[in-house]
């Protein structure tokens, strides 16, 4: 492999420096590094971050290749600055056996745009009744460490307790989609002033908060770690904050869309705003930002959920829930957290790379930008502003809530172990 010299990059937003990549490793970081024998990338004051890691991606393959495949999904990830994604288990068939997770893992390796770390289902068929073969999935070539029934909540307290206990044997973690099912029957949007007016079934905050409260207590009781997916309410923040103050081993994620959008957008009845958990209120959005800034919420995860056009080009109730997010995540985080002064780029790197890699045990990802580390990097033009055009997405799906919205920042380069997957905004 050849050498690459990234010249004048603001590492984590600091003073411009040069970074020399040799093969799959960062060889040297410093000023005025020699360009001899190296391909030069003029960073020109752009911000260099460790490759981003998404703990919550839906790649849809196998089963829903009409909305996304491992190839299109990992290309979208590379476009968004990601070098590793964790692929959720709600595929068809469900990723509840070693066979399925190995297939997804290998597809990611073959395509080479982004490491794909499969997430295994907690229960067989996501049905919440019987534990899947968690150990077998861990021992497979995919080396699964994160387990989730995402899309569905592990609502049976006994099953949840057992899962939390069982994965301790190999350092796994259960990522809970917190949604009390009875309280959310027929739920279409956040329950509150807007749902009352629009006549759409309410998804109350308490349906999320009650499950989180139960699960942190279970984790404390059995001495396990638990991860909370896409936390969306101010009340959930309070519970996680309390749990952490007690020393409970809980981590939590927030999606970019919950940091920016509110349920007021549902007034348009446009299903691009339909997502689970639903968009909440302004008060929730502000609480989530604050919690991400102070570390109560550990990471940003996209919940990238591609859906074909026809599943969104319909009436609200008939529409699928979910938004694509890989290609806009960093821009939304810059808009909501960096440009507002809540986070530095160091803080962003922590929450979008280091910490998610640590929670998911993604070896070689989320490392510092320093000599000897794997060359998983992303270069961001933070001065850029432009409106989102879904036609330019690498994802197979276009269900973005940001179409036409002006957002800051653009990922121009991504390197996966020294190999460029994105150059000047174009996939290789």
């Amino acid at each position: 492999m050849s050498k690459i010299l990234i010249r004048g990059a603001k590492i984590l937003g600091g003073e411009p420096q040069d970074v020399l990549i040799d093969g799959d490793t960062i060889a040297e970081v410093g000023s005025g590094l020699s360009a001899e024998g190296a391909e030069v990338v003029e960073a020109d004051g752009k911000v260099l971050l460790p490759g981003l890691v998404d703990l919550h991606t839906h790649l849809r393959e196998p089963g829903r290749e009409d909305s996304e495949t491992v190839l299109t999904g990992t290309r979208a990830a590379a476009s968004g600055g990601y070098t590793a994604v964790f692929a959720m288990a709600n595929t068809f068939p469900v990723a509840d056996t070693a066979g399925v997770v190995e297939q997804v893992y290998r597809l990611g390796q073959e395509h080479g745009y982004c490491d794909v770390q499969p997430i295994g289902a907690v229960t067989v068929g996501l049905e919440g009744k019987k534990l899947a073969e968690l150990g077998a999935m861990h021992e497979s070539a995919a080396g699964v460490t994160v387990f989730s029934d995402d899309g569905k909540c592990v609502d049976d307290a006994v099953i949840m307790r057992r899962a939390l206990e069982y994965v301790k044997a190999f350092g796994g973690v259960v990522a809970q989609h917190a949604q009390e099912p009875r309280l959310t029957e027929g739920a279409q949007m956040n329950e509150g002033v807007v749902s009352a007016e629009l006549g759409l079934g309410g998804w109350p905050a308490v349906a999320e908060e009650s499950i989180i409260a139960r699960d942190v207590l279970l984790a404390e009781h059995v001495g396990s770690r638990v991860h909370i997916c896409h936390l969306s309410t101010a009340g959930s923040v309070e519970i996680v904050r309390w749990a952490k103050s007690r020393g409970i081993d809980v981590t939590a994620e927030v999606t970019p869309h919950h940091l920016l959008l509110t349920d007021e957008l549902v007034r348009s009845y446009n299903p691009v705003f339909k997502v689970n958990p639903p968009l909440r209120t302004e008060r929730d959005v502000l609480a989530l930002r604050e919690a991400l800034a102070d570390g109560t919420i550990d990471i940003v995860a996209t919940d990238h959920a591609p859906h074909p056009h026809e599943d969104k080009d319909c009436e609200w109730a008939a529409a699928a829930m979910g938004m694509v997010g890989l290609e806009t995540a960093l821009s939304v985080v810059q808009e909501t957290m960096v440009d507002t002064g809540l986070l530095t780029w160091t803080g962003v790197a922590e929450r979008m790379s280091a910490k998610p890699a640590e929670i998911g045990r993604a070896v070689g990802h989320g490392r510092p930008v320093s000599a000897g580390e794997p060359a998983n990097l992303t270069l961001v033009d933070t001065e850029y502003r432009g409106s989102v055009d879904p036609a330019g997405f690498a994802s197979r799906s276009r269900n973005t809530p940001y179409e036409g919205r002006e957002l800051p920042g653009r990922v121009t380069h991504t390197w996966l172990r020294g190999k460029a997957t994105l150059v000047d905004g174009k996939l290789t």
């Binding site: 749902s195 009352a196 629009l198 006549g199 309410g202 009845y269 080009d313 009436e315 609200w316 008939a318």
Partner: protein, 325 residues
């Protein structure tokens, strides 16, 4: 007025009064030997009903026919819709047949709004009831009935419902009639009180322009009209209330309760009534109950809405009559 009628909340006070006044003239057509006007000749209106509602469909159909529109009835049952065709494809198919307006009843809240705003079709969209969202022509016919009874048929012309005290009782949570009525009655200056068991009041109701009470008896003497909403027996199974008997004891209108209402006050119901649940037969059959009038008024209101949306080259705006000689 806008090109479509999606929500009662979209109507200004002047728009609403114009519709009521126009309906008053339309009502007179019913007294003629030939109950027909040539106004919408050559216009095609489709009644696109994804939910069974014979009453509402017949009412629209009568209104359309009295205005000489060509009427196409499309019921989802047994059609391509039940075979999985989308709302978009159905609407576009109908528009390709040259439809000027779509009267839509749909089980999904917001479906008419989607139809009107998604760019799928150009036709005017009239909401005939969507999910638990809105049913604007029902609210208009209710307001029309109230104005006739509480203000007067002729005296009411040009007037709103300022200061009238209207009480809505029943399943507010699942009721598009309640939402539409709260919006329209507020616009028309009435004071609205909702009465229901707390389980049947939506979270977020505090933002509505009305009062909420859990006690029917205390509101009766302060009501110029009491509107009862249908309570479906199935709600019991979802634990919204314990038994039919307990519901009717606490929230049903019987003769004794009706006696507490002021003498001029009326009892309304959008139908179909569940006798023995929200209303007793004694009340339903009394002179003070306007259920049958509401049905007749529904045709007049729908004629007015159709005329004002489709009768010209653009929807009616609030203006004085143009003199042209």
């Amino acid at each position: 007025m806008q090109r479509h009628l999606i929500s009662a909340a979209d109507l200004t006070r002047d728009d609403a009064v114009l519709i009521l006044d126009t309906a008053e003239e339309m009502a007179r057509v019913a007294d003629r030997p030939i109950k027909k006007l040539p106004t919408l000749r050559g216009r095609t209106v489709v009644n696109l009903f994804f939910e069974d509602s014979t009453r509402t469909r017949i009412s629209f159909e009568a209104a359309e026919k009295r205005l000489s529109a060509d009427v196409i009835n499309f019921t989802a049952k047994g059609s391509s819709v039940s075979k999985g065709e989308s709302l978009k494809d159905t609407a576009q198919t109908l528009e390709a047949m040259g439809v000027d307006a779509v009267v839509i009843r749909h089980g999904a809240s917001g479906a008419p709004y989607r139809l009107a705003t998604s760019g799928w079709i150009d036709a005017a969209v009239i909401n005939a009831g969507d999910g638990t969202h809105q049913h604007p022509t029902q609210a208009l016919l209710d307001a029309f009935t109230m104005r006739r009874r509480l203000v007067g048929r002729d005296a009411g012309l040009g007037q709103d419902l300022a200061g009238k005290r209207i009480t809505l009782v029943g399943d507010i949570l699942h009721s598009r009639v309640a939402r539409s009525n709260v919006d329209l009655l507020h616009t028309l200056g009435a004071e609205v009180t909702l009465v229901a068991p707390p389980t049947l009041v939506p979270v977020g109701v505090e933002a509505w322009p009305c009062e909420v009470s859990y006690d029917l008896d205390s509101t009766l003497s302060k009501s110029d009209a009491v509107m009862l909403l249908r309570v479906q027996r199935e709600r019991m199974n979802a634990a919204f209330f314990p038994t039919e008997r307990e519901y009717s004891r606490r929230y049903g209108l019987d003769g004794d309760r009706m006696a507490k209402m002021p003498e001029h006050a009326i009892v309304m119901h959008p139908g179909p009534m569940v006798r023995g649940m929200e209303i007793t037969a004694e009340v339903a059959d009394s002179d003070r109950c306007t259920v049958v009038e509401q049905v007749a008024n529904g045709v007049s209101i729908r004629m007015a809405v159709l005329y004002l949306l489709l009768g010209g080259n653009e929807p009616a705006v609030s203006h004085t009559r143009i003199e042209e000689k």
